[in-house]
Every structure is written in C-alpha cells, then in structure tokens.
Amino acid sequence: MEKIFKKPKGLNDKTMHYCPGCGHGIVHKMIAQTLEELDLLERTIFISPVGCAVFAYWYFNTDHIQAAHGRAPAVATGLKRANPELIIVSYQGDGDLASAGTAEIVHAAARGENISVIFINNAVYGMTGGQMAPTTLVGQKTSTSPFGRDPNFAGHPLKVCEMLATTKAPRYIERTSLDSVANLNKTKKAIKKSFDLQARGEGFSLVEILSPCPTNWGMSPPEAMDWIAETLSKEYPLGVFRDERADTEVRNDS
C-alpha cells in the first residue's frame, strides 16, 4: 500500500498555534507542498506578516523574515532586488494587506515585482480580537462593528483583486476559497501557478484566499466553511482577474 498523501517536507513537526479549523493551517500546508513539488524549498524566503500568521516561521523549513504591519511587499521588494535567485513568499492577512499596507501592495503590484503574494481574506481582524477589517461585509458584526458594518459610516468592503487588476504590470491574480474540494484544489493549483511564474521570472502574482475564522465569526469550523460558500464568496466572487504577461517594451520619450 502506498502513502499518497503525507505531511510535506516544508513543514516541521510543531503543532500550529492556530485555532481548530483555522484556514492558515490549510494554506501553510499547500504552500509547503507546492515548494516541495517545484523543488523551491531551499531558495525560499517566507515573509510573515503582523496578524495570526506572525509566527508562521515556527512551522516552515525555509528561511524567514518577519515584516511590520502591512510592509511585507516592501520587504519582499528589497529581498528580491538584492537576490533575484530567491523565491519570495509574502504572506499577508486582510488587515495587514488591505488596510495598513494598501500602499505597499498596490505599488509592488504596479511595479510588477517578481514575488508571490498569498493573501488570506477572512473579513475580520483575527489576531487583535475580531475587529472590523477593510474586508468586513456590510452588516457583519465584529467587535468594532457591534451593530453590523454600516456602509454609511464604515463604507463598503475593499476588493483587492479587482483593484489590483486595474494596474497593468501584475502577471497573475486569482481569488479562490477553501470551502469545497473543488475550491481547495483550485487554491492549491493557484499557489503552484504563482510560485512557478515567479521561478520563471514572469512577475507579480497574488492569490487571494477566502479563509475561515471560526473563532471570530462565532461559528463551528464546518459552519464557517458553509458561510464562505453561501455568503462571503457572493461578496467576493472567485475567479481569475489577471492572467497575461504585461507589455514590457520600454518606450523612451525624447
């Protein structure tokens, strides 16, 4: 009998600190599997964000750097420009990427930095205790939107893939989810495509992953997955937002 699914080499044996049913663990595993499959583990620098994944470096068998809130794409830029041989995995949550670090992510994308951004969207601030995030849905109750997000005061959710896809440089942008077998497989495929493109030097890619936060949503993990399928992915449609190589011809004015 052959073992057809085992723990990837990119992860060590520590038990992750995440809550039961948290999406971070699922995505960490996919990243590690993919780096192993593409034989990129030894070249990878993983950038952990500020958020629940701040300690991601406890679990990966790769080099690691921890970035300030929102700054991971800037740190990624520096690393990659210093050593283009490195594979840069910039891992960010929605508070980190879509709030504190909007400037960094927009401009790293606009420059077409040859990095892979894995963006975990769970519509809430996890680490600090379930406060409203830029991605929180209208009407969603959080510890700082106790009556539900009111668009008259707090505006509407920020859609990162759609926003970044308005710039020309990004090579690949896709939104996936973790709520079904089909979507798990699509997520894994998207991560693999992103890393592969980076290894080929093709430019910036971002995979946004709709991910459960059962604790702060106040749901059991299975209920949280159902909520992604029924509610969250209605606000954030899944799909590919960019999959083409940008025009890179240099045109000098006189």
Binding site: T62, D63, G78, A82
Partner: protein, 350 residues
C-alpha cells in the same frame, strides 16, 4: 582627469555609497536631498546587480532596505526630516532585528511640513530614539562635502560591523553646496554575513530575522544584548574634531555645517586675544562625553551653537554636569546664524 571632482554634498553621498559597495537604493524624493535619488537612478542601473527603486513612501523605502540588507546586500535610503519621521517604524524594527543599513537625513526646517531651509532640529529624533523601544542609532554628522563622502563610506562598515542602522545627518545646505571631493576606492571585500543573512536553506538550517520576542524575559535578554553592543560602540566609535582647544578657555561646541561658522568666530576671537576653541562632535551618538569632560578644568564656559532651539546642548550639559556654565545660542526655522551674531553672542558672556 583630476583626482578630485566638484560635487554637491548630496552627490558625494551617492557616489561614496556606490564606492562602498551599495548596489541598492530605495527612496522617495524630498527637497533638499533629491540629488541623491537622482544620482542613484542614473548610476545604479549601470552596475551589475544594482537597482534604484523609487518607493511609494518613505515607510516602504526603509522596509525595502530591511529586506535587501536581510538578504546580505549593502543598501541605503535617504530622505529629509519629514520623510525620516515616516521611517521611524522601520528603523526600530531594523535595530531590533539586528540588520545593518545606512540612512541619510538631509535635515530641513520643522516641525510639520516646515520649510526646505537647513536646520539641525532632528537631533532629538535621531539621537534620542524617534522610533519606539530601547535602541540606539550610530549618528554621524559631517561638516564638509569631503566628510559627506568619507562618513558615508565609513557608515556602511560600521553598520556591517555592529549589525545595526547608521544614520548620517547633514543640514540642507550641506547637501546642496558644492566643494571639491576625493573618493575612496571601490570596496570589494565585505564582512562575512553568512551567519545570519537570508540566502535560502541549501547549506544550513532555516534562519529567521525578526523583531518579535513575545516572552518578556527573552525580550529583556535581547535588549541587554543590544546594549552590550552599544557599550562597545561607545568605547570604540566616538568621533570628534578639535580646533585650537589646547589652551582654550572658551569651548565652543557645534556640529555640522555650523561648526564652520564657529571656526571663523574662533579666528576672530583669537584676533582679539580671546582664547577660544571648538570641539566638534562628529559622532552625535556615541557622543564625545569624555572629550568634553576633559575640557572642564580649563574652560571658563562652554558655548553651544545649533541650528535649533537647543537639542545637543542637553547632552553637553549632561557631560559638563554643572561644573562650568554652558551657554547656548541657536537660530531655527531655517535661519543660518551669521559669524557676526555668533561672535556677539559669545562676547555677551565674557
């Protein structure tokens, strides 16, 4: 061609950084230092492995430096006062994570947006902290274009040696003025960084660069380790220059460009038979405390001149510790003190 070239202070910083092996520059334009990114944007793309990146903000610029130097490269960023304020978050992270880097602050008038005229009012910010937490920066203050070049070159070595950020501070007019300058040779040998730099895990166990230490005892231990390093720097890296202080009864203390105004004041005082001299701190941290203390006995008084409301003067007072009077004269808002008014102010205390 001549071995010397005529350069602006800002250009000298840029050229000297390149000679020190800095291949990566990340920055954002701000007057009065924009000649540095302009120079870098012309030169670095021509160097193998070199890159000039115009960051979206100074916040990003310092974090790009954090990434680049973590990969073992020599990298720098430069800005002027308001931009340096934006970098404070990153500087604190870099100090804690023990990564080397060089930052240049070509200071302008503040607070707030202030103006583009020269000032020295960022002393507190860069010498006393600025960012959060327990850390120090090595701060170097040149007074000529030649020193802009020399100290930039040295700053990279100091940063690598101690694995920490080093900041060069210059007044706006020092960045803008032109003087002949001679550069050092292109540096080709560097400190071995393989112990800590992020290069992938081919030949070693996973490495981590971080500034998060959750456990209070671990954090305290780390801060103690940083301060042991700082004690070593206070022992080894103090820099200052003296001018006619051997027999001086009036010790003028001034740094940066204003020390050159002070020099002409000392000459004028000497012409009148008044024994005055200058002690010019070159490293603002580590501060030349011992040098100042050694002048207490001979001094009638100390006279501190700054282009601020008086910031370094507090460190002078700490060093003198009440043993002799410490007088202060400063102009701020971008006004450069003239030799005449400095002279008149010294004479008030005679």
């Amino acid at each position: 061609m001549s071995e010397k070239v005529l350069m602006k202070g800002n250009e000298a910083v840029a050229e000297s950084a390149i000679r020190a092996g800095c291949k990566l520059y990340f920055g954002y334009p701000i007057t009065p230092q924009s000649e540095i990114p302009e120079y870098m944007s012309r030169k670095l793309p021509q160097i193998p492995g070199g890159a000039y990146i115009q960051a979206e903000t100074e916040v990003s610029a310092i974090n790009m430096v954090y990434g680049a130097t973590s990969a073992g490269a020599r990298a720098m960023t430069t800005s002027s006062s308001p931009g340096i304020s934006l970098m404070m978050e990153g500087i604190s992270y870099i100090a804690c994570a023990e990564v080397p880097c060089v930052i240049v602050n070509v200071m302008r008038g503040g607070p707030g947006l202030g103006n583009i005229s020269p000032e020295q009012a960022d002393y507190f910010q860069v010498v006393k902290g600025g960012g959060h937490g327990n850390y120090r920066l090595v701060v170097l203050a040149p007074s000529s274009v030649q020193e802009m070049a020399d100290l930039t070159y040295d700053a990279f070595d100091i940063a690598d040696k101690y694995r920490m950020p080093v900041m060069l501070v210059a007044e706006g007019n020092l960045g803008q003025m032109m003087e002949p300058v001679k550069f050092k040779e292109l540096k080709t040998e560097f400190t071995d960084k393989s112990e800590w730099a992020l290069t992938g895990t081919r030949n070693h166990e996973p490495k981590i660069i971080t500034s998060i230490l959750l456990d209070p005892e671990t954090m305290e231990k780390h801060i103690h380790k940083l301060y042991e390093k700082y004690a070593l720097i206070e022992e080894n890296e103090v820099r200052f220059e003296e001018y006619l202080t051997d027999d001086a009864e009036i010790i003028i203390i001034a740094y940066g460009l204003i020390s050159r105004v002070a020099r002409s004041v000392v000459d004028k005082l000497r012409d009148e038979g008044i024994r005055a001299g200058i002690l010019r701190p070159i490293s603002l941290w580590p501060f030349p405390n011992e040098a100042i203390k050694s002048k207490i006995e001979q001094a009638e008084f100390f006279f501190v001149c700054e282009m601020s409301m008086g910031q370094m003067v507090e460190d002078v007072r700490l060093a003198v510790n009440g043993a002799k009077p410490v007088h202060f004269f400063g102009r701020c808002g971008g006004v450069v003190p003239t030799p005449v008014e400095m002279f008149d102010n010294v004479k008030k205390y005679l």
